[in-house]
Symmetry: C2
């Protein structure tokens, strides 16, 4: 069975959504007719935003709605928790549901108190606008430095998953947040949803390397209205598919990004080696700038890998791939002619494979180049 | 007693040096009349250059001379070890000493075989030029992307330490290497020299964050001709002083660097927290670009710190210092007016102090900003 693209965004089944915006400040609301089975993955940063802390606490009740604001992260503020709670209360009151069943998330500048009068006004307007067609507006309302709306909805063997997401390759400062809200009809309990979401996030968002900075607000929430009995394998497949597509969208978004990278370590001795090795390459400024300059500087890749894991260069293959071409830069530790690699580097989607022939584990990360534009944007941002 | 500046560079006491260059390729030689007590700290990269491996092996014999080439790293090559050994043999033959008492180091492009004919010619020329005044030429011969010669010699309570060093804030690609060669008269055995050198490197070079990339060739060697009985405390003090000064020189060198940073975590619960916390801030691209843009974006500093260690923001002070000014951005978790911080950020030497009031450990790192020039240089480099 093939994957079918739907047009509903986050509004699959009985989910409705709305988004409103006033200058830099936006509010999105997503709601269902009933309390959903809910899973969530939150930032591992030791400094956590108040809304993230509150959602972490309330998620066990299951969410019927989510309220999100952009423009202010509600982090490192004095009234943070009070205001996060108030956002849930306002949304609960307007939606006529229990505020303990409302998830909350924020993204924007750190260290400024929320303007609750503005927030209240925007939440009210959003609730009035709720509809089956509101997903796009909701996706737009949570954008900060994103240059593109990020929205998906798919159907696979009767399983529907919808989602909206924000976060960009440029990932700006106090707006560094990644937010993702997913809806599904797949009939699984909280524990299974949580486990599957955690795994999908580990393989997608957690393998996305933009600039190594971890936000205080990162939040991924998955709500299920349990309308569809389905196989776990199918659900796992489609959930991973959606998360990976969102991760790709984030990596390629942002004015500072000119090249999208997929970096894969093959045949590592341990899973940790495979993942850490791929991350080391994707994080290296020297690798990122070389790729930006279309410079076949394979030595930087080997040095970055060697800084994190043990491997035998004598056995190593280093392969570059574009959609149409594939070339070895290094084969069994011998350097090849680099003309084809140079050609491949002219593409804007590049895959780098390092086969270290030490075991059977594979690790893959998504990344991007590092451009002068990135520096300009992040130096000037206020 | 004060520290006295000498003019001898690496040529204190009976040390002599020379450096010669032919275009991109340089060779430096440092030699003493006798075999020295020798300590060394080498790259932790799992891929180690052949010369680093050979020096690691031979250092137990003590070195009487060191031979260094720039322009080619002799890493990831087929004849790497053979050629590194040959460099020691040529130097040994020309100097009429045992090649097992010759240390060797290389810096430059990865993955190309050394041109041994050129190397032999340069080593011969260098040996012919050896003199008490050769330190500056030696320092010049080991430069790659460095824009300035790095050379120190000091005397403190009769202890002399001389040194030359290469490595730059810009730290380029396959030339990412940090090399440092130190000479002293301090009369200590190998074990003490090794322990003291290791500690001094941990507090200086290892706390220097340029771009997080670790070279395959990094080498620090300390040779002592044991001419001066002295106190361990004095030696420790002056050795740390020299290494820290070299680290500062490296951080401020390089066309891409406009601001030198000192980042200090105060009152951390553990030493690890203090050091890892400081490293996290210095490594953050968002922090580095904010500083470059003179942008008082304290949220990025807090988020970077929170990504690595636990601390209580409510208790935290965040202080910015220039040579003449000092200002709080955050005091006990409250955000201050940022006008003075903005002023401080206009300087090219900036200290950032985060006092987390959780214990009594302190950690300090040296770093620099991240500029568009860095990207340009590292994208274009070939």
């Amino acid at each position: 069975m093939d994957i079918k693209r739907l047009n509903s965004g986050v509004c699959i089944d009985n989910f409705r959504a709305a988004g409103v915006r006033e200058g830099k400040y936006g509010v999105a609301v997503i709601v269902n007719d009933k309390i959903c089975e809910t899973a969530g993955v939150f930032t591992k940063n030791n400094i956590k935003a108040a809304p993230a802390l509150l959602s972490m606490k309330n998620i066990k009740n299951g969410f019927q709605a989510i309220v999100v604001n952009s423009g202010n992260a509600n982090t490192c503020t004095v009234k943070g928790m009070e205001n996060a709670r108030m956002m849930c209360e306002i949304a609960g009151r307007e939606l006529e549901i229990d505020s303990r069943n409302v998830g909350v998330a924020s993204t924007g500048i750190i260290g400024r108190e929320l303007d609750m009068l503005r927030i209240e006004k925007l939440i009210k307007r959003a609730v009035q606008n709720l509809s089956k067609k509101g997903s796009k507006n909701a996706a737009e309302a949570i954008m900060t430095t994103d240059t593109r709306i990020k929205e998906i909805s798919l159907e696979y063997n009767g399983i529907k998953i919808g989602g909206i997401c924000k976060g960009s390759g440029m990932i700006a400062p106090d707006l560094a947040t990644m937010l993702c809200f997913l809806t599904t009809n797949a009939d699984f309990g909280r524990d299974i949803l949580q486990r599957e979401l955690k795994n999908a996030v580990d393989n997608s968002f957690n393998m996305l390397i933009i600039d190594n900075d971890m936000s205080t607000n990162d939040t991924v929430i998955l709500m299920s209205d349990r309308n569809k009995k389905c196989s776990l394998e199918d659900f796992r497949y489609i959930l991973n598919y959606v998360c990976t597509e969102f991760a790709r969208m984030m990596a390629t978004d942002g004015e500072g990004v000119t090249k999208f990278l997929e970096i894969e370590i093959r045949n590592a001795k341990t899973e940790r080696d495979a993942r850490e090795g791929a991350r080391a390459i994707a994080s290296s400024l020297l690798v990122k700038t070389a790729i930006h300059g279309e410079n076949p500087n394979w030595g930087r890749i080997i040095a970055a890998l060697g800084s994190k894991i043990k491997f035998d260069f004598e056995k190593t293959d280093l392969i570059f791939e574009s959609e149409k071409k594939r070339a070895f830069a290094v084969k069994n530790g011998r350097v090849m002619r680099l003309d084809s690699v140079r050609e491949i580097l002219k593409n804007n989607k590049i895959k780098i494979i390092v086969d270290i022939k030490a075991g059977e584990y594979k690790g893959k990360v998504f990344g991007c180049d590092l451009s002068q534009e990135y520096i300009r944007i992040n130096s000037e941002y206020n």
